[in-house]
């Protein structure tokens, strides 16, 4: 096992651990803001993992970046480009995921702000108790 493989496996393992810790944060923390932070880190970890899926090993002898330098590329240029480029599909999927994640985040942030202004706290346990009290008051 060479150093490159070890580093790559370490990256994947650390992303798994990151995802696990974030899921723990979302599930166990009663503070809504902490839940929200854990959720955003979870999104970013999964996005990084997806980009890593399209990665390929940088081979010795390739010094050019994966861009087309020629405006009217020949067949050889295109082949060279394909030799260097990484998988674009995960990046396109991640772009979609980021947009939708951000939309959800904006909405979540405004809902949390609303909850805070309504109940004066962002602790879901206390909010649950307050809601129960409000409902029982309404029913009595």
């Amino acid at each position: 096992m060479d150093i490159k493989t070890i580093m790559f496996v370490a990256t994947i393992v650390s992303l798994y651990i990151n995802i696990g810790v974030c899921i723990y944060g979302v599930l166990s923390k009663p503070n809504l803001v902490k839940k929200f932070i854990a959720l955003t880190i979870l999104q970013d970890s999964i996005n990084t993992f997806m980009i890593l899926d399209g990665y390929r090993l940088w081979r010795a002898g390739l010094i050019q970046p994966p861009v087309l330098l020629n405006w009217s590329p020949t067949e050889e240029d295109l082949k060279q480009f394909m030799m260097r480029a990484v998988d674009p599909l995960p990046q396109a999927l991640v772009l979609t995921a980021i947009v939708i994640g951000l939309a959800a985040n904006v909405f979540l942030a405004s809902v949390i702000l609303h909850l805070y202004r309504h109940f004066g706290t962002v602790d879901v346990d206390i909010i649950g108790v307050l809601k129960r009290v409000a409902i029982s008051e309404e029913l009595s």
Binding site: K4, T5, F8, V9, I12, V13, Y16, I17, I19, G20, V21, I23, Y24, L27, S28, D53, G54, Y55, R56, L57, R59, V67, L68, W71, S72, P73, E75, L78, F81, M82, A85, V86, D87, P88, L89, Q91, A92, L95, T96, I98, V99, I100, L102, A103, A104, V106, F107, A109, S110, V111, L113, H114, R117, H118
Partner: protein, 269 residues
């Protein structure tokens, strides 16, 4: 009870990580690290700017933008609609105050910060516009550029105080209208091939295909324009920057103004 809950919460992620880790280390997601990209990726990379076989190309050297707006343009359109709906939901929560100016009468930060920010804001908008308009040539595109542009109003709210944004020419109504117009622009760009060639084309058709002759301009002078990609990036950029502008404006209302929204609930509406 609480301790028991903590033990379950800690042990569950650990078990999950271990369960995912074993197949990964045994090689379930292929050799690590991979030396070659998949065949599908090769197809995309090859056809995106294949000037010798124009039946399938996207006329853009940027494979990601080509995938996002050409190969699966309909998906990105729906993604834009999701974003649109989320912002609408955010605005609906603050429907009583969104049109009003804020109560704060701040004067902003010091003159040094104001001058520096004025210059920086110009740069931010220029970088954003460049990211949007070069989206078919370099990494970037409508969403990324739009997000960059949206930083400028946030800076303005913090540095020049709320008054500048509240009484600027870009009112709430104008921002909403611009956003709706750009969504219509995306839809029209997608439907234009159908309308112009009287039904003999595909939705989101970019370049000429077999049996359908419609094609957006593939290049201007010797620069590849990516056909419809440029228009779609432009409309998406305007839509996203306006959406973020409204969202930040609403989220950054002062506490007093925001609480007006909640007063309504006491009266049962």
């Amino acid at each position: 009870m609480r301790r028991y809950r903590d033990v379950v919460f800690v042990s569950l992620p650990i078990i999950t990580i271990a369960l995912i880790l074993i197949p990964t280390l045994l090689g379930a997601i292929g050799p690590l690290p991979p030396i070659d990209v998949r065949d599908l990726a090769k197809t995309y990379l090859y056809f995106t700017l294949d000037i010798y076989n124009k039946s399938l190309w996207a006329a853009s050297p940027e494979a990601v933008t080509a995938i996002v707006w050409d190969y699966r343009g309909l998906d990105t359109f729906y993604e834009t609609i999701v974003f649109y709906t989320a912002i609408i939901g955010c605005l609906a929560l603050y429907r009583e105050v969104v049109r009003k100016p804020d109560r704060s009468k701040g004067e902003g930060l010091s003159i040094v910060v104001k001058k520096a920010t004025a210059i920086a804001m110009l740069g931010i908008v220029a970088v954003g516009a460049s990211t949007v308009l070069h989206g078919m040539l370099t990494p970037g595109g409508g969403f990324q550029g739009g997000s960059i542009i949206a930083v400028a109003p946030v800076l303005a709210i913090v540095v020049f105080s709320r008054i500048l944004v509240d009484y600027s020419k870009i009112t709430y109504e104008k921002a909403i209208m611009l956003r709706n117009l750009s969504i219509i622009g995306i839809a029209l760009t997608a439907l234009a091939p159908l309308i112009i060639s009287l039904g003999n084309a595909f939705i989101f058709q970019n370049q000429v295909k077999a049996y359908t002759t419609f094609s957006y301009p593939s290049s201007i002078l010797d620069v590849f324009m990516g056909g419809s990609l440029w228009f779609l990036n432009l409309f998406e950029g305007i839509a996203v920057s306006m959406a973020f502008f409204i969202a930040f404006k609403v989220l950054l209302y002062t506490e007093e103004t925001s609480k007006e929204v909640l007063i309504g609930e006491d009266y049962g509406y």
